[in-house]
């Protein structure tokens, strides 16, 4: 590569658009890696049915974008026997961190809805 090729001007290249689905996807994977989260559940029954037919990897994640701020809602199943408050807190932190890291956009709210517990052992 010659010296000349390395010199170029910075020109606007176009716009980048990220769909809420893509954000939901990142949030989904981040939440699943978070300790204490054992699954997702749907926001409501109707939504759950459509999701059951069209299986997509954003099940239980809702992303709202009102043109200014991004809010993420997570509908989760947590492992029985963990401190739910702490788990919810770290899920919300992890999701925020991963989404913000991937997109470089700041997130307004990450809301965690605990919809159920999975019981694998009873002490």
């Amino acid at each position: 590569m010659s010296e000349k090729n390395l010199q170029y001007e910075l020109i606007p290249l176009g716009t980048i658009k990220v769909s809420p689905n893509a954000i939901a996807n990142i949030a989904y994977h981040a939440a699943l890696e978070s300790y204490g989260v054992v699954g997702f559940t749907s926001k409501n029954l109707v939504y759950g049915l459509t999701q059951a037919i069209v299986k997509d990897p954003t099940y239980g994640v809702d992303v709202h974008y009102d043109g200014k701020e991004i809010d993420i809602d997570l509908y989760l199943i947590i492992e029985y026997g963990t401190r739910i408050k702490s788990v919810a807190h770290s899920v919300s932190n992890t999701v925020r961190y991963h989404v913000e890291k991937a997109l470089g956009i700041s997130i307004n709210e990450v809301n965690v809805h605990v919809r159920g517990l999975r019981i694998s052992d009873i002490d």
């Binding site: 890696e33 300790y35 026997g81 963990t82 401190r83 700041s106 709210e109 002490d123």
Partner: protein, 558 residues
Amino acid sequence: MLDSLAASTADFNPTKSVNGRMLKRLIEAGLTWLHSNQQIVNTLNVFPVPDGDTGTNMVLTMQAAFDEIKHSNETNFGKMAHTVAHGALMGARGNSGVILSQLWRGFARALDNLPVLEAQDFARALAEARDTAYKGVVRPVEGTILTVAKDIAAEAEHIFHTTDDFLQILESVVEAADRSVQNTPALLPVLKEAGVVDAGGKGLYFILEGMLRYLKGQALDIVVGTIQPLSEMVLQNTLETIEPGQDFEVVVDFRPTAAIDLPAFYGMLEQMGTSIQVGEGEGIYRVHIHVPTLNLYAPIDYTRSIGTVTRVAIENLIDQIDGRKSSCVESAPVLTPVEPGQIAVVVVSPGTGISRVFASLGASAIVDGGQTMNPSTQMIAKAFEDLPTDKIIILPNNKNINLAANAAREVSVKEVAVVPSNSVPQGLAAMMRLIPDGNFDNVVSEMKQALEEVQSGEITCATRKVEMNGIQVEEGQIIAILNGKLVYSCPGVEEALLNLLSIAKADQYELITLFYGADILPVEATNIADKVQSHFQSQVIEVQEGCQPHYQFIVSIE
């Protein structure tokens, strides 16, 4: 703290089997040793700004576990283990704390009502602890505390066939934990990139090592022979661990004339006082120690004998236990009284200077908190519960505190709004829009709008090496953060500040306010402000004492 540890160990032979009382002492030993090494664990965090998390969370979790058994005289090992697990569960903080509590839960379940623990029970319990912990996550990430739990369980299952000596078993378990921790970067790329081992795993290692050290009769409250870089000495935190009789905090900077013999050096310091920390940077050593009045000058005399003393700072701790903050002028902010029906603003502030500024703008309540010490929901809620009005606005002034502020809003019966300020400058900009007698919704939306109109800069020190946003940061370097993003790094504060301002295009704004931190002297701040003024001649530069820890400067550009 260790008084009860010194008490009798003679109830039985501790190396063949362990009963409930012994477990209590082991837990205390693990907690104490983890506490001594808390800062080491905290510096392993993967994000470069000071964000004292994993170590602190694990200590708080273990502390809750110990508090639960502190007054118990239970001799049954199984019952005691269940109480520990319960305490850990209730006090679990953060990801690592939750995992730790699950490890205890599994450990306790395996033992049920077992009166004493023997070698094979220990192996069985560790295996159960591992299984329980793994159940709590769908996709276990290897190279974390989970991996360490797995490796120690494997080691225990292997070793108990060859010996029934509990001390020997614990010794090989601790060695296995150490190997496992050292191996975490090989399993988790993010650790390798950052050049650190896993913090949670290291924390678990310290808990086990503390138990082993106790059985061997080694000291638990000092970090033997560790020297940290100057930038990593977090002296603010040492105030939490004041022992009775240690009336003064002495910090001495000196240039040694010959190489320091660490064990001997520590040995001398240990005779003088407690809470010893030693830092090193560019040939200068900094010693931090708490001493009784009698020994006040002993550290200074001693360091003079082995080098040239360059700076000495002495603080009266007794005077500070209530007032916390050190180097800043101590004058409590005068809060604005609020009338019934008026709007009251609750502010989270990282430093006393910043609190005073907020108070002068009309804040009615102030909660201490910032990057490394996020206040709890209760602390925020308590701050406004007693105010004689039910219209409350919260300014969290830090992204990490937003959540707690929102939770406080939910638990309160009052009309509460959170104006999500992510930084102190944003909070101040919002504060300017406060009209105490105005319409609540209008004031809130005015304040939210104000957030956009200011740029927030921060100058701090990187706690470790990292590459982010294409910027290479060395440990101990000064980094500049603009609106939450790392934008520049270099060795000097002044250079970082000037570059931050030019990246923020401060020449297109009117007012630059510099809040200098607890580590910066007023003279230094004025000098730097003069430099800034010479570069930005048409802007108004204001210098304010912020007293915030960790951040040399917080900059507001508006």
